[in-house]
């Protein structure tokens, strides 16, 4: 390929990024952690809505409202963020969610198979979609943006076509029964989705993967410089396929959760997760160009996003302006994130340069 710079000639530019920790006070050390910027963004929007929404926003119901949204988003955004650290995008999570959810509803609802069979089938759909994404991306030179977008269209089409063929409708009800309802779709205290625990589980899993295992190191390396990573003998293909499978499985899990929560599945669900998961990761400090990001950052990103998109309903502002406020606050949160990071890093030093998309 003449287009891509060959590994030998690629110029290694020093990329200044979050800095060298030197021995300093623990507060100093805290301000230097890259997540601090993301935290600043979360705090900003939290404060704004506490002021605007008052007791509605910080009541149990108010907190549950953004926490629930954040939890489901995090289950997808965390593995998507991992994939982004490795330098790839996944735009197929929307259709994977819908496909998994419909699979479960059809297998266990329409055909009446035991719930566990439906769940395994749903996860299998996710695993397969992720595997195919990963395989095509690794084997060809096609950017993952296009491959997963193709998958998003294609899988949506298959889901719709098959659902109509099999059930004649796009809307399949399912009674998950008490056990699975409790496991995936119950509300703790009538307010907090059990998805919050699933999100915590996923977060722990991904923290462990990213920080504790060789695999995590490979993810950073692949995102940092794919050719150099290849040169060190990392099984790049295998790592990428695993990552695509993880993000697809995250989407499947949310599909299962929503199916249990709302007692059925619709073919048209899920597409908003495509962009939202990427936005959350970027707000959380994951570089779109790969090579950098952290789990706490992504979690803060999902919280910021959830607060911004849900907070307005706890205020007395007209919902006509919801979209405007969402846009403005997203930007403000990211700017805050950046500014804070700059401030924290510049003990008399210039801003770090982070490569942009």
């Amino acid at each position: 390929m003449a287009i891509a710079a060959s590994p030998g000639v690629q110029v290694t530019k020093p990329v200044a990024a979050p800095p060298a920790p030197r021995t300093q006070s623990s507060f100093g050390r805290l301000t230097r952690r890259p997540e601090t910027g993301a935290l600043a963004g979360t705090v900003l929007v939290f404060v704004i809505f506490t002021v605007l929404g008052g007791s509605n926003f910080i009541s149990i119901g108010g907190v549950a409202s953004w926490l629930n949204v954040a939890a489901e988003l995090a289950i997808i955004a965390l593995p998507v963020g991992l994939l982004m650290i490795a330098g790839e995008l996944d735009l197929s999570v929307g259709s994977v969610l819908a496909a998994s959810s419909m699979t479960m509803a059809i297998v266990s609802g329409t055909y009446g198979a035991p719930m566990i069979v439906g769940i395994v089938a749903a996860l299998a759909v996710g695993a397969a979609a992720g595997f195919i994404n990963g395989l095509i991306v690794s084997r060809t030179n096609v950017p993952s943006f296009v491959v997963t977008l193709g998958m998003n269209f294609g899988l949506a089409g298959i889901t719709l076509g098959l659902s109509r063929l099999i059930t004649g409708t796009t809307n399949v009800p399912l009674d998950p029964g008490p056990f699975f309802k409790g496991l995936f779709g119950s509300l703790i205290g009538g307010q907090f989705e059990v998805a919050i625990f699933w999100a915590l589980g996923v977060a722990l899993l991904i923290v462990w993967l990213l920080q504790m295992t060789p695999f995590g190191n490979w993810v950073f390396a692949i995102g940092g410089d794919k050719e150099s990573a290849r040169a060190t003998g990392i099984p790049v293909t295998r790592v990428k396929i695993s990552l695509f499978m993880m993000s697809a499985l995250g989407a499947s899990l949310v599909g299962i959760i929503q199916t249990c929560l709302y007692n059925g599945a619709q073919t048209s669900t899920g597409q908003s997760f495509v962009f939202n998961s990427i936005i959350a990761a970027v707000i959380g400090g994951v570089l779109l160009t790969g090579g950098y990001g952290s789990v706490p950052g992504i979690i803060l990103g999902t919280l910021t996003f959830a607060i911004v998109s849900q907070g307005i309903y706890t205020t007395s502002l007209s919902s006509d302006w919801a979209s405007f406020i969402l846009g403005a606050l997203l930007l403000a949160a990211v700017l805050m994130n950046n500014t804070f990071r700059k401030l924290a890093l510049s003990s008399g030093v210039r801003a770090p340069k982070i490569k942009k998309a």
Binding site: Q10, A17, P21
Partner: protein, 263 residues
């Protein structure tokens, strides 16, 4: 003469539109240093990318220990005991020194499902190995590679390849970005490797460095093997002219000397 570890026969490589290498036949023996010399664009890096599995040759065969091999990826090459430091790259700007050093061969602690990346060990070893190359300013394995100087990064890549050992160590202009001290350390390391029976392929533009460590020399000119000889078979001037693509350097040097006198 020892059984060659690596043998190339009539190897050639064309990029679309350019023949970068043609008809290269040479061999590397264990415990010997082969210096690959040649002008800019002569094809040295291309040859090294073939040896390290980055490119498959367009023509010709590669043998290791007498067995023909085809490397489909750098993994294949490292599985065959080949460690390479490429001309650029090999480190990860956004990773810490400790993590970057151990990419692909991460040390772990604990066992079973609790096995985890051992950051402390990684940081300690990487800093120690850098010190061994004369890099003393990097004393924290948590520093980001992107914030290191050019020479520090190059040293990290070299330290890495040497630390993990190999039957064949390939170094593409390892000393180019290095200071005099660090360069000497690298030369020392090459000599140490050689003594352990490791075969070394060493690319350099520095005549002195080449003559200090080289046992055998192969000179590429315009992608072809122009000359190959053993230590002592050519004078320094002859080698310099060969490295300059076969042109006599005396004239150019005289011109520069002329400027110097004008000063």
């Amino acid at each position: 003469m020892a059984e060659p570890l690596l043998k190339l026969t009539n190897v050639g490589k064309s990029y679309a539109g350019t023949d970068a290498l043609a008809d290269i036949t040479l061999q590397v023996e264990p415990g010997k240093v082969l210096c690959l010399l040649g002008d800019n664009g002569a094809g040295k890096s291309t040859l090294i990318k073939i040896l390290s599995g980055f490119h498959t040759p367009t023509t010709g065969t590669v043998e290791i220990d007498g067995q023909p091999v085809v490397f489909h990826s750098p993994r294949d090459a490292s599985a065959n005991g080949i460690a390479t430091v490429h001309q650029y790259g090999g480190t990860f700007p956004l990773m810490t020194v400790g993590r970057s050093f151990f990419v692909g061969v991460e040390p772990t602690k604990g066992w079973g499902p609790f096995k985890r990346f051992d950051k402390a060990t990684a940081n300690e070893i990487s800093v120690r190995e850098l010190k061994g190359l004369g890099i003393t300013r990097i004393n924290d394995g948590n520093r980001l590679v992107g914030g290191m100087s050019g020479g520090e990064r190059q040293s990290l890549a070299i330290a890495r390849a040497v630390y993990f050992g190999a039957k064949l160590l390939i170094l593409d202009e390892p000393t180019a970005a290095l200071g005099v001290k660090e360069a000497s350390h690298v030369l020392r390391i090459i000599m140490q490797a050689r003594r352990k029976g490791i075969a070394v392929v060493f690319v350099t533009h520095n005549v002195l460095h080449a003559m200090t460590v080289g046992d055998n020399f192969a000179v590429l000119i315009h992608g072809r093997l122009a000359d190959s000889f053993a230590k002592g078979e050519r004078t320094r001037e002859e080698i310099t002219d060969l490295m300059a693509g076969g042109e006599a350097m005396a004239e150019l040097e005289a011109e520069i000397a002329q400027y110097e006198q004008d000063a």
